[in-house]
């Protein structure tokens, strides 16, 4: 690994610090997953985002846009300078992922539960077209409240979409608090397995474990695979971890200073 995850974390923190507010919690929890996907796993060509033979990625939890934008910029889909424009008027980087605005974003998301259906649709299209590209989607654990998710799970199982990998960011928090307190979903891995999927659970901040899981997914035929990522919301930002108000944060002056300190510390770690 080439510290790619740390670089994503640094760029994401810089974006959010510059803007002064944003979806920091859910961005930080998927950094390692994005790092593995874009630095190791996916077949992509950043100079040709619409390449027909690429693997597809759908960020169903569209509010984690900042982490995805940092990843895409670091891979060279667009100039890193663009990261300074997060949520500015007429920006190419809005809060929620938008396929029309950002090079490398394959699907527009933001209204929860919808990205997984689109990912399943892309995977089905690839089967119809007899193509071997793979499709990856990240869904939040809070997002599992949406009934549409279960419609898509049934669809993907029925159509034997073994070219689809669903990654669930189990960071245990949603906007209003702990997912268990709002609507206890039980054992997520077991629930997905109950829909016929091959389902496993790994440490979502351990890149080797994620990589191993995605490798395993490639060997599973005739059923789709789900990788539940055991994660920490706002991972790496100590003053926001385990904080039930870390979904969308408007930073105080003190927090801005702490973010700057953290960015410097992370930059030191990789030099």
């Amino acid at each position: 690994m080439d510290n790619f995850a740390t670089k994503i974390r640094i760029e994401t923190l810089k974006m959010l610090r510059n803007r002064g507010f944003g979806h920091i919690g859910g961005s930080m929890s998927i950094v390692e997953a994005l790092s593995v996907l874009y630095d190791n796993e996916m077949t992509i060509d950043p100079s040709n985002p619409d390449w027909e033979d690429r693997d597809y990625f759908v960020l169903s939890k569209g509010h984690a846009g900042p982490a995805l934008y940092s990843t895409l910029a670091l891979k060279g889909y667009f100039d890193k300078q663009l990261l300074n424009t997060l949520n500015e008027a007429h920006t190419n980087l809005p809060s929620h992922a938008d396929r029309l605005k950002t090079p490398g974003v394959d699907m527009t998301t933001g209204s929860l539960g919808q990205g997984i259906s689109a990912a399943a649709g892309i995977a089905k299209a690839l089967k119809i077209q007899k193509k071997n590209n793979r499709v990856y989607a990240i869904v939040g654990d809070g997002e599992l409240n949406e009934g549409q998710v279960y419609e898509a799970l049934m669809f993907a199982f029925h159509h034997k979409l073994d070219n689809l990998v669903l990654m669930i960011d189990e960071n245990k928090l949603q906007l209003d608090g702990y997912t268990d307190d709002i609507c206890d979903q039980g054992d997520i891995r077991l629930k997905i397995a109950g829909f016929g999927w091959h389902a496993l659970r790994v440490d979502g901040h351990n890149e080797a474990a994620i990589k191993h899981a995605l490798q395993e997914a490639k060997e599973i035929k005739k059923v789709p695979t789900c990788v539940v990522l055991d994660t920490i919301k706002a991972k790496g930002v100590s003053f926001l971890e385990n904080n039930t108000s870390n979904h969308h944060v408007r930073f105080t002056d003190k927090q801005i200073k702490e973010l700057e300190h953290l960015i410097k510390q992370l930059e030191g770690d990789i030099t």
């Binding site: 699907m107 689109a118 649709g121 299209a125 119809i128």
Partner: protein, 317 residues
């Protein structure tokens, strides 16, 4: 546009659903991008023949309309052409956020067929009777919204849409309609069709109300009142130029729709004429829910008959 109107209007030989199946079967012979999406209503729309011929391109998703819209979006990302059918309320109301965002906002393409337009839902009643579908889809920016008048128009429009990259909603009656247009007629999306010329008023209609408007025109003529009749099958983008021309010519517009008078054709016409002093009277469902009944009963119940149109015209003169 090359429209030939029949002299006498009879029940069409073909049901609308047969036209849907046959046209898609024919188009799919030379277009491997066509994919049919259904939500457990294939027997209602009779697309089993398409399924037999193209099993790999038929997705009976199951009773999950929200997922169906999302899957269609995914198919469109890969350049396929999703044709989606379900009953109008489920194609719009039930899955509106998915239609709006995953297809509309994401600028992806699909042709959505909403069947059993308004009172043609008949004995399925209020849960299945869309008086609001056109209002909903009209609120999706850039979406093309049409209501089909007869099988000849339906086939021609399907063939045109297959070559266009866009998101469209086609509201249809599923079974027989009165046949208005001669075989071989061609239509222009976004252009209304003037079926009758008269100087006293203009009736602007869509769907089953086109036939009722023509009946009303004949009844009015007997009383010495000469009205124009326009088939405004494209509700969005509406033919504003034609409406302005006939508003100016006749100074009186009456709309006729098998839909709530809020949100549908009548509203679209009012919006198009907002800068004119011309009176617009809307014949349609007056902000009510659907109910069970024969189509003939429902037509009277919701005041959608030719006589209701005649009354509305006379009140304006």
């Amino acid at each position: 546009m090359n429209v030939k109107v029949k002299q006498k209007f009879k029940i069409s030989n073909k049901e609308m659903r047969t036209t849907y199946n046959d046209t898609l079967v024919d188009l799919a012979k030379t277009d491997d991008k066509i994919v049919l999406l259904e939500a457990d209503l294939m027997r209602a729309i009779k697309t089993n023949d398409f399924q037999k011929k193209y099993p790999n391109r038929t997705l009976n998703i199951g009773i999950m309309e929200q997922n169906m819209m999302g899957v269609a979006a995914g198919l469109s990302v890969r350049g396929l052409k999703p044709y989606i059918h379900t009953f109008g309320p489920f194609a719009t109301r039930r899955s509106f956020d998915q239609l709006f965002l995953s297809l509309g906002y994401a600028d992806l393409n699909a042709i959505i067929i909403g069947s059993d337009a308004g009172i043609s839902a008949s004995h399925n009643g209020g849960t299945h009777m869309p008086f609001e579908d056109l209002g909903l889809v009209r609120l999706v920016p850039n979406m093309t919204v049409m209501e089909m008048t007869d099988p000849v128009m339906f086939e021609n429009i399907l063939r045109q849409l297959n070559d266009q990259k866009q998101l469209s909603y086609l509201r249809i009656v599923r079974k027989h309609m009165l046949s208005i247009y001669q075989e071989g007629s061609t239509f222009e999306i976004g252009k209304g069709i003037v079926l009758r010329e008269g100087k006293d008023a203009t009736i602007v209609a869509a769907g089953i109300m086109v036939a009722n408007a023509l009946k009303a025109q004949a009844l009015l003529q007997e009383d010495g009142i000469n009205v124009s009749v326009i088939d405004m099958f494209t509700i969005k983008p509406i033919d504003q130029a034609l409406l302005l021309e006939y508003a100016d010519k006749t100074q009186c517009i009456v709309t006729a729709e098998n839909h709530n008078i809020i949100g549908g054709l009548g509203s679209a016409v009012l919006e198009a004429l907002e800068t004119t002093p011309v009176t617009v009277k809307r014949v349609g469902v007056k902000d009510r829910f659907g109910q069970v009944g024969t189509q003939a009963f429902l037509e009277k119940e919701y005041e959608l008959t030719a006589e209701d149109i005649v009354k509305a015209v006379k009140e304006q003169l």
